[in-house]
């Protein structure tokens, strides 16, 4: 199965720019099923964590108000080619996604 995370990284000197896209419905919990009229329960990523060579470089906390299939981008110092970037998310019902990539 393909990963639920896509990432693009760019290194310029020792600054890494990370762009990420997660496959996730980000249900608000207030939307109704158009067929049954029943409320669709909230289902959203709560935390998105980035580590570089094991060191935490970003923790993003999301509410339901982050768009469906969330996009998130940031940069950090002290990066070099070959570093291992790990991205993982967890959502409010305990589902998880993870991706590991090498900076280049």
């Amino acid at each position: 199965m393909a990963s639920t995370i896509k990432v693009k990284t760019k290194l310029s000197d020792d600054v890494a720019t990370v762009k990420s896209l997660m496959l996730h419905p980000m249900e608000t919990g207030s939307r109704k099923d158009p067929d049954s009229g029943a409320i669709i329960p909230a289902h959203h990523i709560t935390q998105l964590i980035f580590t570089n060579n094991g060191k935490q470089v970003m923790v993003a906390n999301f509410s339901t108000a982050v768009s469906k299939n969330p996009y998130f981008s940031f940069s950090f110092n002290g990066a070099k080619a070959g570093d291992t970037l790990n991205i993982s998310w967890v959502d409010n019902i305990g589902e998880k996604g993870e991706l590991e990539t090498q900076l280049k």
Binding site: P41, Q47, M58, V59, N61, A65, S67, S75
Partner: protein, 150 residues
Amino acid sequence: MQYTKRALLKGSFALMALAALPARLLAAAWPEKAFSAPEMNAALTGLFGTDVLTASDQITLKAPEIAENGAVVPVSIKTTLPNVESISIVVEKNPRPMVATFEIPPGTLADISSRIKMAETSDVTAVIKTSDGLYSTARQVKVTIGGCGG
């Protein structure tokens, strides 16, 4: 992962099963109080213990003037303030104003981009927590009822 109705159903069962567990096992540091607050002041207090913000012109908040689609509003925040600890996005008129908060450890740049949902026309506020206080800047984003679109 595919989000068919079946997957959603499965999800809701999982939710029931997990409801018995203490919430902190699911996401240790997820600031639930701030995220569930229905008003901006309570959301800020829930996260920072105070709702007093100092306006700063050292924060750049990029957001559209008129959102093409309230469900996907691109927002970028960066700042030249020193010793940044976190960046938060608050949408005052959303049913739950706290949208997201990003913890910035030393070495990580105070420069993030994301896409957010907006229920209606509102101020979008970028809140920067530094080692010596809370700074903010805001700008209005108009959310309109679309025509036919795209």
